[in-house]
Amino acid sequence: MGSCNILVIGAGGLGCELLKNLALMGFQKIHVIDMDVIDLSNLNRQFLFRRADIGSSKAEVAAKFINSRIPGCNVVPHFKKIQDYDEDFYRQFHVVVCGLDSIVARRWMNGMLISMLQYDDDGELEQTSLIPMVDGGTEGFKGNARVILPGISACVECTLDLFPPQVTYPLCTIANTPRLPEHCIEYVKMIQWNKENPFECPIDGDDPNHINWIYEKAQERANQFNILGLSYRLVQGVVKNIIPAVASTNAVIAATCTTEVFKLATSCCLPLNNYMVFNDVDGIYTYSYEAEKKPDCIVCSNKPKTYFVDNGSIKLKQFIEDLCESKDYQMKNPGVTTSIDGKNRTLYMSLVKSIEEKTRDNLNKTFDELGLKSGSQLFIADVTNPNTIILELKYTQTSEMVTD
């Protein structure tokens, strides 16, 4: 265990617990990555931080604390985003443990570990290229922990539907028929802010002036419609999309993850296969089961994924919307390129302003107009994955039927 090199992703509620647990279990080589700085609201559970640490790097303060409390343990901090590193960095670890609140970061890390897998000439997985990922998540009194053996067991993308869909309100409700205080807050956030632009910048949920302004405007709107129940706490919660968190649930989930790292490192017993849910609202409930690997998972199946569509009359815009909304993809801002007659062509990319402007017109073009055919390959880049995903188009209606 002294030689086992562990990477902890996130030095927040789960991360602090993970570092303490791993160090006390005898792991001595630990790296931790976190891009965040310490906030007052962290102190109810992130026990390696003190009031004087507010504003400092979570990774750095956490590493320093563990190294001073536990002799012989060497935690190396990285005050970075996971996307700042490539596979040369990630290759040095034996196990990766994630304690993240971001689904995108989890998916990115999962994609990274799967892209690092190597296969021999017979298509057999080279065991040395496999880095297990242990992942924990909490929300209030609920939590889950899982063990992913990339390429072997279900990965994050195989089970995307386990993530609860984000609560969204229809725009027409927000604009015309608000009923809940949340509708009023969303109205100020999505419409009134842009119209009045009170601070001449986008909303910063950590700026109390911004929250105050939204609270006051939302309260005005709530009064106008006689809507009850608006509070400052609710405004903060909606604007910052706050997930409730307590020390106890973090302790339980991080402990479960640590036990699994210990099992993987020592082979003392079989690791969790492969998913555990926890809930201690009514008694203490846990359930362990085997999440299934998706045979055509876009990330871990090693097979090109086919994208079925009636025919080439679908607009690029609709296709991109589907990638974002379908529960199989849940992408954020996919960029689409293709290869036509051996030449690469960017069809749309939102993240680079100049390319976005150049490709914007393509959004309203159909696949036919863009020169795509059944069998064409589309390369999709998105923040949820460090690698490009290949989708092969397949038109389900024959051309005769199209001309009918």
Partner: protein
């Protein structure tokens, strides 16, 4: 919008620090937490993990009782002891390091062995809100169990042993107003509407509306109106089975507007009404578990010492028998549904005002009861009664059993033990192992395998065989578990302690805040298979 906007409330430092948990148990839960005082016996790795998850969210205070001096082994399993502290009192150092976590929490310690304190000053333990003990040997466990049961102070005995752990809650009676159920059907009363609701729902004439208005009527309206039609042709009965519900849905569908071509429009409110048939038109009843509470001895036989919970329960009981006409006070919340603002808010007001009316009646009864009982009439505030009425359909009462009962063969559930020993899926086997370990420890004064002596295996087998025969159970089928326990040698694995620490801390929070349902009564954790099980090994049950 002529009037200036309301001023933002100033947020206190404390509410910022505790923001993420206040969203769960609220300011009232937090203030209960801040006024509690927890006693921890034995600052082991598990013990300090429990306190860590209590100090962070801000309990009022804690006291650690531990007479041991710190060893190197302690430091390896306990984050709240440091390398420089070897030889110092374990209670003192862990108290200091735990206090660093939260300046708002007070902490002190007693550097004295528990057996001594139990003997010389048993009243000491009566000062606490909850007492938690980690790895307490059997003799002291039984003595403390009896003492705290008599004093009516909740007690949790927990242990972390190799890859296995357990926590045993001993609570005489615990009452819960806010159980926070994960899912709950809305309390709409469509089968037994109150007069104001009837008027409100019948005043709407759906046939005279244009499409825009028609699609913006809350689904409760068409659902209610269709239900009236159904009842009039079915002797006043509700749709009962699947077939009738399907027929009722068809009736409901007839209300959907047609376009010029005679095709039905898409109306979201009607879609919602169709879905609501599954949960919104069931008969409104007092749930069985609440009925049991209202019929509880403590509810019916109030005394001058009755707790507010039972006084409010009695007031609700009387309400149900009188003004409520068999129903609980209305919850008063309306789920969100497609509707225009004005119609939704108007309907919401109907429910809110009726709920307020119910809770006023209940509160009048509460005051009468307080008066009759000779308690101060302001002992229960109107807000208390309101909260109670709001949660009347999901109240909880837990009646536990004394730990020392498990040492009486007449009071222990031997058939459950026998089943557990035979069933390889059940974790009851670990309860048997723990009892065997305790028996072993009482006899030999060390844990099996602690010093690597293989004779311990046979001795442990003997201890367990004796226990099983006392319980009238057959012998163990295999020795696997014995060998596993021997291998642990009594050692504490930190990640197992951390898991249990989180669980036990939250059980303490449940007991202190009176929110969420605690475990009743023995929780077992198996880190090998990542499974847990909750059992009650005594032979009479008390949860409802």
């Amino acid at each position: 919008m002529a009037s200036p906007g309301p001023k933002s409330p100033e947020q206190s430092e404390k509410s910022k620090k505790y923001d993420r948990q206040l969203r769960l148990w609220g300011d009232h839960g937090q203030s209960a937490l801040e006024s509690c005082h927890i006693c921890l016996i034995n600052a082991t790795g598990l013990g300090t993990e429990i306190l860590k998850s209590l100090v962070l969210p801000g309990i009022g205070g804690f006291t650690i009782v531990d007479g041991k001096k710190i060893t190197e082994e302690d430091i390896g399993a306990n984050f709240f002891l440091d390398i420089d502290s070897i030889g110092k009192p374990r209670a003192q150092v862990s108290t200091q390091l735990l206090l660093e976590l939260n300046p708002e929490v007070k902490g002190d310690y007693v550097d004295e062995p528990i057996e001594q304190l139990l003997q010389n000053n048993p009243n000491f333990f009566k000062n606490f809100t909850v007492v938690v003990a980690a790895s307490l040997p059997e003799r002291m466990l039984i003595a403390l169990s009896d003492l705290l049961w008599e004093a009516d102070i909740p007690f949790i005995a927990t242990r972390s042993y190799g890859l296995i752990g357990s926590a045993r809650l001993q609570i005489k009676e615990h009452t819960i107003i806010e159980t926070h159920p994960d899912t709950q059907n809305p309390d709409l009363r469509l089968d037994q509407p109150f007069p104001v609701l009837v008027k409100h729902l019948e005043d709407v004439d759906l046939t005279k509306m244009d499409l825009k208005d028609h699609t913006h009527v809350p689904y409760v309206v068409p659902l209610y109106q269709a239900l009236q039609e159904w009842k009039s042709s079915h002797n006043g009965d509700l749709p009962k089975n699947y077939k009738e519900k399907e027929e009722f849905r068809n009736l409901l569908r007839k209300g959907i507007k047609m376009n010029e071509d005679g095709v039905q429009e898409y109306e979201e409110n009607f879609e919602e009404a169709l879905k609501a048939v599954n949960f919104a038109i069931a008969p409104t009843v007092v749930p069985n578990n609440v009925k049991e509470i209202l019929n509880d001895y403590n509810c019916i036989n109030l005394t001058s010492k009755s707790k507010p919970f039972w006084i409010m329960a009695k007031a609700v009981r009387d309400f149900v028998d009188n003004e409520g006409e068999g129903l609980l006070p209305l919850r008063g919340s309306l789920p969100d549904m497609t509707a225009d603002s004005q119609r939704y808010i108007a309907l919401q007001q109907v429910y809110l005002q009726e709920a307020a009316r119910c809770s006023e009646i209940v509160h009048r009864r509460v005051r009468q009861l307080l008066h009759q009982l000779g308690q101060p009439v302001d002992a229960i505030s109107e807000a208390d009664t309101k909260l109670f009425c709001k949660h009347a359909s999901s109240l909880g009462v837990v009646r536990g059993r004394k730990i020392s009962d498990e040492y009486d063969t007449k009071l222990i559930n031997t058939s459950l033990l026998a089943q557990g020993v035979e069933n390889s899926e059940s974790l009851i086997i670990y309860y048997v192992m723990f009892r065997g370990i305790d028996r072993f420890y009482a006899e030999y004064n060390h844990y099996p395998g602690e010093f690597g002596d293989e004779h311990d295996i046979v001795k442990l087998k003997g201890s367990i065989a004796k226990l099983l025969s006392e319980w009238g159970c057959g012998p163990l089928a295999k020795d696997d578990y014995i060998h596993e326990i021997y291998r642990y040698g009594g050692a504490e694995l930190h990640s197992v302690s951390a898991f249990l620490g989180g669980c036990v801390a939250h059980e303490v929070i449940k007991l202190v805040t009176g929110q969420y349902k605690p475990v009743n009564n023995t929780f077992i954790y198996d880190a090998i298979t990542t499974n847990t099980e909750t059992i009650d090994i005594t032979n009479l049950h008390g949860i409802f």
